[in-house]
Amino acid sequence: MSNGKIILLVEDDPKDELLTLRALEKANIVNPIVVARDGVEALDYLFSRGEYAHRDPMAMPQLLLLDLKLPKLNGLEVLQALREHALTKLLPVVVLTSSLEEQDLIRSYSLGANSYVRKPVDFVQFVDAVRQLGLYWLVLNETAPLPGEVSVMGQGHR
C-alpha cells in the first residue's frame, strides 16, 4: 500500500514513534515516513524552513499524523498555523493522540482537523486502526490539489 507519497508523523515520544512506525509497517503501509519531533519542526518541514530550508515546498506530504501533546508548539497550534497558510490549508490532517477529552475533540475539529483517532493502548487494536487510516487516507481519499497544481490540472498535463 504505497504511492510513494510522504506521510508526516509528528510525535515527540520516541517509544510512541517506534510503535507507530511498527504499526504502519504491520498494516502494510510502506510510504516514506518523515518524523517531526515537535510542533516547530513540523511547521519547518511543511514550510521548508530551518533544517528543511532546501526542501521543495511544493512536495507536500499526502497525510499528516499529528499528536496533540508536543513540545514548543502543541498539535492544535500546528493545526491552526497550517490551516492559515494557503499551501497547507487543505492538507489532510489526522489527529492521532491519547486523549478523548471533549475539549481536544472540539478544538481539533474547529481548527480544521480531518479526522481524530485515539491511539488504543492495546497494540493489536492500534495496528487495526492504523490499517484503516492508511486505507482511507492513502487509498480511498482523493486529496485536493495544491494551489499551484490547479492550472496544471486544468491544462490536462498531469
Binding site: L19, S98, E102
Partner: protein, 527 residues
C-alpha cells in the same frame, strides 16, 4: 267683640219697650212685633257673633296645632339624629342630642307660650276647647319628652360602652405596636419628610448611639459619605411614592465602624416615612466569603481540569508502550520466550489494558463531577434502549432477554442520564454472563408520587451485607477472575444520580440477581 254687640242690641230693645208703655197702650201690638223683631235680631247677632268667634277660633287653633306639630317634628328629628349619631358611637353625639333635646324643649315651650297668648287673645268659648287641646298636647309632649330622655339615657350608656370598647381596642393595638416596636430585631424608625428621625426602635441601640443622639441630627449625617448621594436619590424616589425595597447603605456606628443596612420604607400621605432596616453586614461579609470560596473552587476546578487533561494524555502513553512492546516481543522473539514467557507477557498486556480502562473510568467519573448540567425532559426509556443496543453490539453472540418499559420520562441531563443507564445495563449484562437464560429488565415503580426507575437482572447478584460497599470507588464485590471491572461504574452512577438530586440503591441476592433503583430530582437545589 261680638258679645259686646249683642249687649248693645239688648239695651236698645229695653229702651224701646219703656218708650212704648209711656207713649201709647195701643201700640201694644207694635211693641210685641218690635219685641219679636228685636229678639230675632238678637238671635241673629248671637249667631253672627258665634260665627265670628268660630272664625276667630279657627286660625288661632290651627296656629297652635302647627306650632305643636312643628315642635314635635323638631323633637323627633333631633331624636332620630341623636340616635344615628349614637349608633356611630361618637362621643360628642350625646352632647349634641342633649343640645337638640334642649332646643326642642325650648321650641316647644315657645310654641306653648305663643299658643297661650293666642288663646288669651281669642277668649270666649273657643278658649276652653283650645285649653283642653293644649293640655292634651302638653301631656303628649311631656310623655314624649320622658320617653326621649329615657332613650337618650340608654343611648348615652350604649355610646359610653362603645367608646370604652373602642378605647380598649385602640389601647390594645397601641400596646401590640409598642411591643413589636420594642422587640423588633430589625431597626424601625419614623422620620420626617425632611429626613429627621422622629422615633427609633430600641434595636437602633446596636449602632451605639442613644436615642437622643439619633433624634438630634439629620439621619443623613449617619450615612457613609460615599452612600449619601444614593440615599438622597432613594429618598426622592420614596417621596415620589415609590416604596423602597432592599436599598442598602452604610450607617455610621458610635465606635467609628460602619454597618450595612438594608432598608424597606414607605411614606404616608403627609410625607412621614416609616422604615425598617436590617443589618446585612454579616450577610454581605458571608456573600463576599462565598464569592471568594467560589473563586477558589473555580481555581481548584480548573486545576482538576488540567490534571484530568494531563492524566488523559500522559498516563496512557506509557501503557501503550508496555502493551505495544510486549506485543512486539511476542511477535518478534516468540521462540526465545517459551510458553511461560509468552504467558507472562500476556499478563503484562492484560494489566496495561486494565489500567487503561481504569484511567478511562476515573476520567469519566471526574467528568461526571465537573461537567455542567443541562436539564431537560428526557425519554429515559429510549436511553435504556440505546444502552441496550450498545451492549448487545459488544457481544452479539450472547443471548439475553431484555425487557424495557417504554414511555418512561424524567428531568435531567440526557448525556449524564445515559451514563447511568450505560453503567447499569453494562453491569446487568456482565453479571448475567454466566447464565444461558439471562434477563435484564428496565422499568419504574412509584414512591410518594416520584418515579423510581430500576434495572433488574437475574445474574450473579450480591450479598446484601455488602450493599453499602457497592457505590464506593474501586469497591468490588466480585473478584477479577469472576467478573472483570474497575469498580468505578457504580460510583459514577451514584455521582450522576446525586447531581440530579436523586438517590440510588440496590437489592440483591447471591446468584439470584440484583435490582438497582434510582430516582431523579427529589430535592431542590441540585448542584
Amino acid at each position: 267683640m261680638s258679645l259686646s254687640g249683642a249687649a248693645r242690641i239688648r239695651v236698645g230693645i229695653v229702651t224701646d219697650h219703656r218708650n212704648a208703655q209711656d207713649v201709647d197702650l195701643q201700640a201694644g201690638a207694635k211693641l210685641r212685633k218690635a219685641e219679636l223683631d228685636a229678639d230675632a235680631k238678637l238671635r241673629k247677632a248671637e249667631v253672627e257673633a258665634d260665627a265670628k268667634v268660630q272664625r276667630a277660633e279657627g286660625p288661632a287653633a290651627a296656629k297652635v296645632q302647627k306650632a305643636l306639630v312643628d315642635a314635635a317634628l323638631t323633637l323627633q328629628h333631633a331624636l332620630v339624629e341623636a340616635d344615628a349619631k349614637l349608633q356611630r358611637a361618637e362621643g360628642p353625639a350625646a352632647a349634641k342630642v342633649r343640645k337638640a333635646l334642649v332646643e326642642a324643649a325650648l321650641t316647644l315651650q315657645l310654641a306653648l307660650v305663643e299658643a297661650d297668648a293666642k288663646v288669651q287673645r281669642a277668649k270666649g268659648p273657643a278658649a276652653e276647647k283650645i285649653q283642653e287641646a293644649l293640655a292634651e298636647a302638653t301631656l303628649t309632649l311631656q310623655q314624649a319628652l320622658v320617653e326621649a330622655t329615657s332613650t337618650l339615657r340608654k343611648a348615652e350608656v350604649a355610646a359610653a360602652e362603645k367608646l370604652r370598647q373602642a378605647q380598649q381596642d385602640l389601647a390594645y393595638q397601641r400596646d401590640v405596636f409598642e411591643r413589636f416596636f420594642a422587640l423588633s430585631l430589625d431597626m424601625m424608625c419614623i422620620s420626617s419628610s425632611a429626613g429627621e428621625f422622629m422615633r427609633v426602635s430600641p434595636s437602633f441601640d446596636a449602632l451605639g448611639y442613644s436615642r437622643e443622639e439619633l433624634l438630634s441630627r439629620p439621619a443623613l449625617d449617619f450615612v457613609h459619605p460615599d452612600d449619601r448621594a444614593v440615599t438622597l436619590a432613594q429618598r426622592a424616589k420614596l417621596a415620589a411614592g415609590a416604596p423602597t425595597v432592599a436599598f442598602e447603605n452604610r450607617f455610621h456606628c458610635k465606635d467609628g465602624s460602619y454597618r450595612w443596612l438594608s432598608w424597606v420604607s414607605g411614606p404616608d400621605s403627609a410625607g412621614t416615612m416609616y422604615s425598617m432596616a436590617r443589618d446585612v453586614t454579616e450577610a454581605r461579609r458571608m456573600q463576599g466569603e462565598l464569592a471568594q470560596a467560589k473563586d477558589a473552587a473555580d481555581v481548584v476546578n480548573r486545576e482538576l481540569e488540567s490534571f484530568s487533561y494531563s492524566v488523559a494524555h500522559d498516563l496512557r502513553a506509557p501503557l501503550r508502550s508496555i502493551d505495544g512492546f510486549s506485543q512486539a516481543l511476542l511477535e518478534d522473539c516468540a521462540e526465545k520466550l517459551g510458553t511461560e514467557g509468552k504467558r507472562y507477557l500476556s499478563y503484562i498486556r492484560e494489566s496495561a489494558q486494565h489500567m487503561a480502562r481504569l484511567i478511562d473510568d476515573l476520567l469519566g467519573l471526574s467528568k461526571v463531577t465537573r461537567s455542567e448540567l443541562h436539564f431537560e425532559d428526557v425519554d429515559i426509556s429510549s436511553l435504556a434502549h440505546a444502552a441496550n443496543t450498545r451492549i448487545q453490539r459488544s457481544e452479539p453472540k450472547r443471548h439475553v432477554t431484555v425487557v424495557i418499559e417504554d414511555g418512561l420520562r424524567g428531568v435531567g441531563d440526557p448525556r449524564l442520564l445515559a451514563v447511568i443507564l450505560d453503567n447499569l445495563f453494562g453491569n446487568a449484562w456482565k453479571f448475567t454472563g454466566k447464565r444461558d437464560d439471562g434477563r435484564i429488565e428496565f422499568g419504574a415503580t412509584s414512591e410518594d408520587g416520584h418515579p423510581v426507575y430500576f434495572v433488574r437482572d437475574n445474574g450473579a447478584g450480591f450479598d446484601m451485607a455488602f450493599a453499602n460497599k457497592l457505590f464506593g470507588v474501586f469497591q468490588r464485590l466480585h473478584s477479577a477472575s469472576e467478573f472483570e471491572g474497575t469498580g468505578v461504574g457504580l460510583a459514577t452512577v451514584q455521582r450522576v444520580v446525586g447531581r440530579h438530586g436523586g438517590r440510588v440503591w440496590a437489592e440483591g441476592e447471591v446468584d439470584r440477581g440484583a435490582t438497582f433503583y434510582f430516582t431523579l430530582c427529589e430535592t431542590a437545589g441540585v448542584a
